[in-house]
Amino acid sequence: MSGQTMAEKILSHAAGKNVSPGEFIIANVDLVFAHDGTALLAIDVMKEELKREKIFDKNKVVFIIDHAAPSPAVGMSIVHKTMRAFAKKHGIRIYDVGNGICHQILPENGHIKPGMVVIGADSHTVTHGAFGAFATGVGSTDAAIAMVTGKIWLRVPETLKIVVDGEKKPWIMGKDIILHIIGSLGSDGANYMAVEFHGKVIKELSIDSRMTLTNMVVEMGAKAGLIPVDEKTIEWLKPRVSGELKKIVPDSDTKYYETLHYDITDLEPQVAVPPNVDNVKSISEVEGLEIDQVFIGSCTNGRFEDFYIAAKILKGKRIAPNVRCIAIPASKRVYGEILKSGIANILLEAGCVIGPPTCGPCVGAHMGILGPGEIAVSTSNRNFPGRMGDRTSKVYLVSPATAAASAVKGKLSDPRDFF
């Protein structure tokens, strides 16, 4: 028998038997979570359709209020109220307004460990694969079922191995790498598959950047994105979690569905041009476009490193008069870090507005909704028509470096001019 990929290893453990791709299994779930966009339907399914009263394990279910937080409308306030009442009744952990985005605060607060099966009622749950967990997004019915049974049916995915090598230039960020990969594979290029990231560049990447990579694998259809656990992972997790940290890596003789190689030495900063995330161009093909808004934040790029790079570009400069620049840290912790390090001040002096930790304009819920025909440059992960506001508004996805450079120049711009 040949060795196992990371996904196969984790799922074998969760199913209590050796599994192989294509097989249907019932897996034990280590963490289930839902947020204010999906928890209500999950609660309804549990109560109205399943008529079940009990949570399988109150330590393994978490709610997060992050999508429209603090609440911008009475409708959302009702959702939040219902979530709080449910959490209280069942004794589950709820991260209320002000804590930040689910995909950032779960690892920060020690909920994620290598080897776990994480089920989230959010498509970007794949982010947690950066820590060697099998994490996948589901709908509210799956979430509700996992909440009451602690189990989920899964098809064991094939694993696509992506090897990233070359010399990473300082202006190239995790975002450019993943946009480039999505552009080459297409929006369904990894459909139903687990993606495993390998290579020199991945080893060198910070945890912040690794999370950007795994965050966006869903934009090429993947079920999970995994990064082998190394010293960096362990070091990051150690102060946050209790208990043993498994060093989840693939076996050395593993067979993959396919292995793809990328060399990013000469990669230019990348831009995902609307209307699809896989419509990826190099900055030199699209620079100069007039813009109205810049957003630096989201579960893709709202971490310390992202603001650090943005601040490097914005230091001592002013954002162009024709744009507004919205910076939103992904968590309370990130917020604290940018305050302490002086980054927040640099952003404010440059003319940015800093919002409380939340999803913010990423999903068009509040705090920066685009008007008709407006164009945004955003560090988030989706550019579907109307994603950030009016149907006729447009979103260009970029790295924080490209976003900051664009804010200064008032048009879509190449960050290399600032390095």
């Binding site: 249907f24 019932i26 966009g37 999906t38 209500l40 339907l41 399914v45 359709e49 399943l50 409708g75 009622a121 959010d122 498509s123 997004g137 589901v138 709908g139 509210s140 019915t141 799956d142 079922i145 049974t149 189990k151 049916w153 929006s187 369904d188 459909n191 139903y192 259809g221 993947a222 079920k223 699809n276 068009g364 989706r382 579907f384 028509p385 109307g386 149907r391």
Partner: protein
């Protein structure tokens, strides 16, 4: 219990029909009531669809049907509108699972799209893995669901299964 054979008229849609196409956000965030939302299903791609779709009708689509958000409103609304099955070249993963869970048959059959026109009468046999285009006298094969999924699909979804048996397909019956 779901019919093993689904028969209806074909509605055709292209590649990358996303969850926002199925139910645009400008309606979705006004009300969460499915019965109110169903009149808008697929409205941006075909304004006539919601008005004219009949029970059992079949959607034939291209690549990556249902991509985007994990919200379940999309498959729930198609089912509520009367759609009997969706036959596509491929599906986005989360949509596929949500559809199975709520009992909307979703079938991967890449050859069907190019040989089928809107309005054709089509018959899908879930158990045998056969699609017949009765208007054109064509037969296509697809891989039937694995046993575990078939069990869920034939009961009309995982929730229906649970309602009927009091346990999930993987739980021991203790009742």
């Amino acid at each position: 219990m779901l019919e093993m054979v689904i028969r209806g008229r074909v509605w055709k849609f292209g590649d990358n029909v996303n969850t926002d196409n199925i139910i645009p956000g400008r309606y979705k965030f006004k009300t969460q009531n499915l019965n109110e939302l169903v009149q808008y299903v697929l409205i941006d791609l075909n304004p006539e669809f919601a008005k004219k779709v009949k029970k059992g009708d079949i959607i034939v689509a291209g690549r990556n049907f249902g991509y985007g958000s994990s919200r379940e409103h999309a498959p729930r609304l198609l089912k509520l509108a009367g759609v009997g099955a969706v036959v596509a070249k491929s599906f986005a993963r989360i949509f596929f699972r949500n559809a199975i869970n709520i009992g909307l048959p979703v079938i991967i059959a890449p050859e069907v799209y190019d040989k089928t026109d809107e309005g054709d009468i089509m018959e899908v046999n879930l158990e045998k893995g056969i699609i017949k285009n009765l208007s054109k006298n064509l037969t296509f094969k697809f891989k039937p669901y694995p046993r575990e999924i078939m069990k869920i699909v034939l009961e009309g979804g995982v929730i229906e299964y649970y309602r009927k048996h009091g346990v999930f397909p993987w739980e021991e019956s203790t009742k």
